[in-house]
């Protein structure tokens, strides 16, 4: 056991693995590029739809049903289906990942908007704000924390799933796992796994720091409970966002 660990650390420490087109920095950059691209497209789709549904309440049932059904779709199956149908290349897996990332973002946006105190919304309307102003000046600012929760879940899900993408011959840190598997090179697999775990934890820390510093400087002083209290936890889609779901 200890020999596996020392071999893994030797693999991680080897300067050969820190340069070149198969080096750790390159793989890390690829991993982050895929993640960024997917998040960009998914956010552009999910946030406007979530805002609309959260604000008007129209299509609520459809969104809840769709998000639930999409959540049950197996990541791996969808990735492979897209590759078989559309061929190898960057975009097929990216679209598969977008489909998987939209539900948590949508659920987060929708849960965020609907968790805003109705009194605040009514008050905003009463002082004469138009519907758009109500949405962007009253609901959105109050919903940001919950919405960002959905975004965080989404980012972590994509980082995890991008490691699977390596199985279909794309780059990213997942390559070390599958190259290692083929070669029965366990230190390489373990090294890659540790890098992926470290990346996920680091990104989550950065996002939570961002959330604390910029999104809710006041809210962090309140206990978490008072914020969650207004959210309906028996709705599985909402529960997923609050309980922190969406996993690959």
């Amino acid at each position: 056991m200890s020999s596996v660990f020392s071999a893994t650390f030797a693999w991680l420490a080897d300067p050969l693995h820190w340069s070149g087109s198969m080096g750790i920095p390159t793989r890390l950059a690829e991993h982050l590029q895929y993640t960024g691209l997917v998040m960009l497209i998914a956010t552009a789709i999910a946030v406007p739809v979530g805002l609309f549904v959260g604000h008007t309440g129209r299509g609520r049932v459809a969104v809840v049903a769709l998000a639930g059904a999409l959540r049950a779709l197996p990541t791996l199956g969808l990735l492979i289906l897209f590759v078989l149908l559309a061929g190898i290349g960057l975009m097929p897996p990216v679209w598969a990942l977008v489909i998987l990332t939209v539900p948590p973002l949508l659920a987060g946006t929708y849960a965020g908007i609907s968790s805003v105190d109705r009194n605040v919304v009514d008050a905003a309307r009463a002082v004469g704000m138009t519907e758009l102003q109500v949405l962007f000046r009253a609901e959105l600012p109050n919903a940001l924390t919950v919405m960002f929760g959905g975004f965080r879940t989404g980012v972590l899900q994509v980082i995890a799933t991008v490691s699977v993408v390596a199985y279909i011959n794309l780059g990213g840190l997942g390559r070390y796992l599958f190259d290692g598997l083929v070669l029965s090179d366990f230190p390489q697999m373990l090294g890659g796994s540790l890098l992926i775990a470290a990346l996920a934890i680091a990104v989550d820390l950065v996002l939570s720091l961002f959330q604390r510093l910029f999104l809710a400087p006041g809210a962090s002083k309140l206990s978490d409970r008072s914020q969650e209290a207004a959210v309906d936890l028996t709705d599985p889609v909402v529960a997923e966002t609050v309980v922190q779901g969406g996993k690959s």
């Binding site: 049950a72 990541t75 791996l76 373990l190 309980v243 779901g245 690959s248």
Partner: protein
Amino acid sequence: MEWFLANTGMILERGGQHLVLALVPMVLGLLISIPLAQLARQSRALRSVVLTASSLLYTIPSLALFIILPTILGTRILDPLNVVVALTIYAVALLVRAALDAFDSVDADVSQAAQAMGFKPVARFLQVDLPLSLPVMFAGLRVVSVSNISLVSVAALLGVGNLGMLFTDGLQRDFVTEVVVGIVAILVLALLMDSVLVLLERILTPWERTGPRRGRGSEDDHMEPAGAASRATSTAGEAA
């Protein structure tokens, strides 16, 4: 369709493996997280330690955990035990949060009334707190069930037998039908488990259907943490 009919036996076998790999961690996770949540409720410090640790573990991607665990457990990489342990860790991480929220959702007045009527702590927990926390608990369980079923298929990449094998095999043979059958089979399995959970919840919480619905006024929903409970009651029908 022909392929499906010709391979029903194999698909059922893989489906069975899949179900076991998803179900066992869910049950284990539930059994671990209820006492853990009770423990975490003892103090604020314990609560934040449990929540931080669980969210940290939950952050680790499944594929990485499947590979890290054998080194810690001393198992082989193909051992289904790795998958069970990994998914149990995720289930505990989700369910501890759900259980904490669930126990918090129990109206403190009800709990105190039970105490005043002479319920001993253990009896009060089993007969009052636990049943009343079920709706929120079940929401958590349904999330775990769906997420487990989807996650099990990732283990097929490493060669652990389950429905995910249809994906890896389909890719190698460039055979779309097999992949589609795999996706449908997993969706059916997820739907089946979800229906069982919904049914179980209905049986275990008969008052949710017949009892008077509380919490119509939106004011007190937002005022106190227990508001989650009254909202839970008022919307349980929709969620199901």
